[in-house]
């Protein structure tokens, strides 16, 4: 019995997932600190503790995400795209859907990945320049609104006619929203409007690379049902959001890759032998 | 200001004046540029043409003397009348025109649709009235003079136009005199002319139920008056820029004149067929696009609210009879 770990160091949170040959054993999400390697170490440690596994039980560790190169102890690191793809396809396989498009909205970027039938990346679009249309934007919104991120979805669903947020830049949007609040507009409408403006941007990316069913939606904001609805409206399709915590898909993907690498490694060894 | 009502009133008064004026010892002379037929016993003034034809029936030489002077005098009086009222003689005074308008009223009352000429037809037959006018001048001259040594026309040709003029047959009826409706067998010329008169009269009664002022378009009086169009004191002005060419005017025009709609540059719109009935001004919905003037002073101007008033607005309980 061998164990593998995937570490996804995102801008907002760090996710760690541990799997064995069959299934996921566990995962853990924690905010990324300043020193991401320590954080990663610590989280992994905690997770193993939870799983009552020895420190060295993990055979291979693959890191991904922005900080992936900072994780010295990782046996390999890989771009979050492939990791995301891997994870998404795996989850899809679990649910019995063939994922063709992946929408991942992260802390400070959002990507759209197009796959072919065999789950190989065909094309991808990415917005990593601007915070608008990312989780970070939603967080600022919550801060201004003084509500919890997790409530956003439910609140936004109450809105009848959302208010359009024209500013495409997170900073301007902020001021715009403040002025809206000043004009006593419904919070729900504002939030919904924000959702639609994000959805709109994402939808534009999707349009660029072309949308194919099934669409797999992951990343932290995927928890936000309002955003999900907005996206579904804009894309005119259903989104598949993994049942368990959707932000760890990338980490899981990394872990899966670690496992594959080890298997391949064995094969290689066998050949040399 | 519902001009069509005013007009009918004026026409009626003129009709009484000209047809029965004699009974009140009214005499406007015998040089009127309108079909106040000289065959009416009680008329209050005579049509210019009959005297005109007689006067022309002279050897040319005599026009250098008294005869000529007398002719000039007559034409002068005619011209004076014509210049003052211009075509309004046709649209507002002419008893025969009035009768035709009344027939039109009857037609609209019955609800028979008006029918229009094709454009080509209309333009083609425009010249008829001038031809008639020229003939009316040449025939009497031909009676008294031999042209190129040809024999002079027989006396049957005397007052040839009056013989074919339907007004001669119809107007005297209002004096209780039906005797003008006859066919003259005394000679082939007379036979043809008088029969023509009868035929035209028949057309007067029938065409009135399909067309407006059918005979006016061929009236030599219109032709004679149209010589004074440009100098007439009464006139119809148009402001091309204000005109949207909506075609209301030309559609409502009894004489089916298209210039009034199409012209954008010309200002004086008294065209050869215009009878100055001012119907066009009534149905013009544009402010100051059309204007009837007397000596340059506007007497009736087109306007939006005026238009809508004449269309029976505002008002719920009006029936379509009003228009």
């Amino acid at each position: 019995m061998s164990y593998f770990a995937g570490i996804d160091i995102g801008s907002a949170t760090t996710k760690v997932a541990v799997i064995d040959d069959e299934q996921i054993l566990g995962y853990k999400v924690a905010p990324t600190g300043v020193h991401c390697e320590e954080t990663a170490q610590q989280i992994l440690g905690d997770l193993l503790k939870q799983l009552e596994l020895p420190e060295d039980a993990v055979e291979r560790v693959t890191s991904t995400g922005y900080g992936r190169r900072l994780v010295k102890f990782a046996s390999s690191n890989i771009s979050e795209i492939s990791a995301n793809v891997k994870g998404a396809t795996w989850y899809g396989a679990q649910a019995g859907v063939t994922v063709r498009t992946i929408i991942n909205i992260g802390g400070q970027d959002s990507k759209v990945i197009a796959l072919d039938d065999s789950g190989v990346t065909k094309n991808f679009a990415m917005n990593d320049k601007c915070a608008a249309g990312t989780g970070r934007f939603l967080e600022t919104l919550c801060r201004i609104m003084e509500i919890n991120v997790t409530e956003m979805g439910e609140v936004s669903l109450e809105s009848k006619v959302p208010i359009r947020i024209n500013s495409t830049c997170a900073v301007f949007a902020e001021s715009e929203i403040i002025s809206l609040l000043a004009r006593r507009k419904e919070k729900a409408d504002i939030i919904a409007g924000a959702h639609y403006s994000i959805a709109n941007r994402v939808a534009r990316m999707v349009k660029r690379i072309g949308l194919q069913e099934t669409v797999f939606f992951d990343g932290g904001p995927a928890l936000n049902c309002g955003l999900k609805k907005a996206l579904e409206d804009e894309l005119v399709t259903d989104l598949y959001v993994p049942p368990s915590v959707p932000q760890v898909t990338t980490a899981v993907g990394a872990a899966l890759i670690a496992r594959e690498e080890s298997l391949n490694g064995e094969i290689v060894e066998a050949e040399t032998a | 200001m519902k001009v069509y009502r005013l007009r009918i009133a004026v026409q009626f008064v003129c009709f009484i004046l000209l047809v029965y004026g004699g009974l009140f010892l009214i005499d406007l002379g015998s040089r009127l540029p309108t079909f106040s037929c000289a065959y009416m016993d009680d008329r209050g003034g005579g049509c210019f043409f009959i005297g005109f034809q007689h006067m022309l029936n002279r050897p040319l030489g005599e026009f250098l003397g008294d005869a000529g002077i007398r002719l000039l005098k007559a034409v002068g009086i005619f011209a004076l009348w014509a210049i003052v009222l211009n075509k309004a003689w046709c649209g507002w005074v002419c008893p025969f025109g009035f009768l035709q308008d009344m027939m039109t009223k009857l037609r609209t009352f019955i609800g028979v649709d008006v029918s229009r000429f094709a454009w080509m037809t209309r333009t083609r037959y425009r010249s008829v009235k001038y031809i008639l006018l020229v003939l009316m001048i040449l025939i009497p001259l031909g009676m008294a003079n031999s042209v190129f040594g040809l024999p002079t026309l027989p006396r049957d040709w005397s007052v040839a136009f009056c013989q074919i003029c339907p007004a001669r047959l119809i107007l005297p009826i209002f004096n209780g005199d039906f005797s003008q409706i006859y066919v003259d067998f005394s000679g082939s010329v007379r036979l043809i002319l008088t029969s023509l008169g009868v035929i035209l009269t028949g057309l007067f009664f029938t065409t009135a139920f399909v067309k407006r002022r059918f005979l006016c378009s061929y009236c030599p009086m219109l032709a004679a008056l149209s010589l004074f169009d440009k100098i007439g004191l009464t006139s119809l002005k148009k402001n091309g820029q204000r005109c949207t060419r909506c075609g209301n005017c030309s559609r409502a025009c009894p004489m089916e004149i298209r210039e009034i709609e199409e012209e954008k540059t010309l200002t004086n719109l008294v065209t050869q067929d215009c009878t100055l009935c001012l119907r066009c001004v009534e149905v013009c919905p544009e402010d100051k696009a059309l204007q009837a003037t007397f000596c340059g002073v506007p007497i009736f101007t087109a306007s939006q609210e005026g238009f809508l008033k004449r269309q029976g607005l505002p008002g719920e309980n009006k029936t379509e009879k009003e228009i």
């Binding site: 959302p162 005119v236 | 028979v112 949207t244 559609r251």
Partner: protein, 424 residues
């Protein structure tokens, strides 16, 4: 998901976006100071767009809806046949991309938008039409009919392009008569003399109010913003003539009051501008909005959706049905200044007249991308206006809100040159 559901969801998407657009506009309007309060009636009509345009078009006693495009379809006949006309010309950006599925990208946004609305159940009255009369005015409209046929009961009306010819007039008259027969078939009501006369008078009453309104706009004090003027006439698309007239007379009263009190919606001595060119339909109000945000006074416009819509009048002459039909045919064909006609004469004079009446200082010529007829007349208009000492700014745009900022800059610059011109 199956095609039907897909269509529904697409519709929802458009609905939501449209709703957001409408809300955006009216939220902005709410904060405007000194807006005539009688505009509320017209606002209501457009606010219904936020949920599928329910109640935008009055449907009492089960009047059949007859959709019309352009301003060539005689509403008198529809009213006379007991129908309710609704003009379907659309200005919503949100439905254009749906239309793009049916039409080439170069097609003008209006056609795209209309296509989108008639293809999807977004605004109810697009679907409820028992007959959609579509004059083959420009090329887009001509072909749109064929493309639209599967979504709506389209009746194409042939449009002559040369008003001066007798043949075209007769052709148009026969088209009008055909339309009458079609409408009668749909509504089951025969158009007789009395009904037609009443219908004509109904529209004429509306025109009385329109004339009042038009005259008010000639005043020195700009008592109503150009955008509101657009809105007022845009409302006539959907409203029943009678109720529109009633609301209109109230508004006119208020406006006349304002004229007396000199309560202006603009700063004193604001630049007097006129809009012309491709039609603007709600919610495509970006240009008038920008102009007025910049403090310009939009005193006149020459749009088939606004000023030209109700200006020309039917002149009943003899009052028989045929005569009235003839009058109607003429009214809808001859005075129309739409550039699809060969002649530019009428539009030219109309523009000059408006400039003169409203004392316009500058003209903004609006062309929709792909609206070739208006594009073709740009040069002519420009030279004409220059000859008359009126500067002209040509703006080519579409329904998308992206270019608002750059429009703002251009218009601002234009207005600055006008102020300079004013100084001397």
């Amino acid at each position: 998901m199956d095609a039907q559901e897909k269509r529904q969801r697409l519709a929802n998407k458009v609905k939501v976006n449209l709703a957001m657009t409408v809300r955006e506009i009216f939220d902005a309007i709410e904060d405007e100071p000194s807006r005539p309060k009688n505009m509320a009636y017209f606002d209501r009509i457009f606010k219904t767009f936020t949920d599928g345009g329910k109640g935008a078009v009055p449907r009492e006693e089960g009047r059949k809806l007859i959709g019309t495009y352009c301003l060539f379809v005689p509403e008198e006949i529809i009213y006379a046949a007991g129908g309710q006309p609704v003009r379907l010309c659309a200005g919503a950006y949100d439905s254009t991309e749906v239309g793009e599925e049916f039409l080439p990208d170069v097609a003008c946004p209006m056609v795209k938008s209309e296509m989108g609305f008639s293809a999807l159940p977004v605004l109810s009255f697009y679907q409820d039409c028992s007959l959609v009369a579509l004059p083959a005015s420009c090329d887009w409209k001509t072909k749109m009919g064929a493309i639209m046929e599967e979504h709506a009961p389209v009746m194409m009306m042939d449009m002559p392009r040369i008003k001066e010819s007798e043949a075209s007039r007769e052709m148009w008259l026969s088209e009008i008569k055909r339309f009458k027969r079609e409408v009668e078939k749909v509504t089951g009501v025969k158009v007789n003399r009395r009904r037609l006369r009443e219908a004509i008078r109904l529209v004429q009453r509306a025109q009385v109010e329109f004339d009042r309104f038009h005259t008010i706009r000639k005043a020195d004090t700009t008592v109503i913003s150009g955008r509101d003027a657009l809105e007022v006439l845009n409302a006539y698309f959907y409203d029943h003539a009678e109720s529109w007239t009633a609301a209109m007379s109230l508004l006119n009263d208020e406006l006349e009051e304002r004229v007396r009190n000199r309560t202006s919606v603009t700063k004193p001595k604001a630049i007097r501008l006129m809009l012309t060119g491709s039609p603007m339909v709600f919610p495509n109000w970006k240009i008038p909005t920008v102009i007025e945000e910049l403090g310009g006074a939009l005193v006149a416009d020459e749009f088939c959706t606004s000023n030209r819509y109700l200006h020309d009048k039917v002149a009943v002459d003899e009052g028989s049905v045929n005569d009235m039909l003839h009058a109607i045919a003429d009214r809808y064909l001859l005075p129309c200044t739409c550039p699809i006609f060969s002649t530019t004469l009428d539009r030219r004079d109309r523009l000059l007249q408006l400039v003169e009446d409203h004392r316009v200082e500058g003209v903004i010529y609006h062309t929709l991308k792909g609206c070739h007829p208006y594009d073709l007349e740009t040069k002519l208009t420009e030279t004409l206006l220059r000859e008359n000492g009126i500067p002209m700014l040509r703006i080519e745009t579409d329904y998308s809100p992206q270019d608002v900022e750059q429009l703002r800059t251009r218009i601002e610059a234009f207005m600055e040159t006008l102020t300079g011109k004013r100084r001397g």
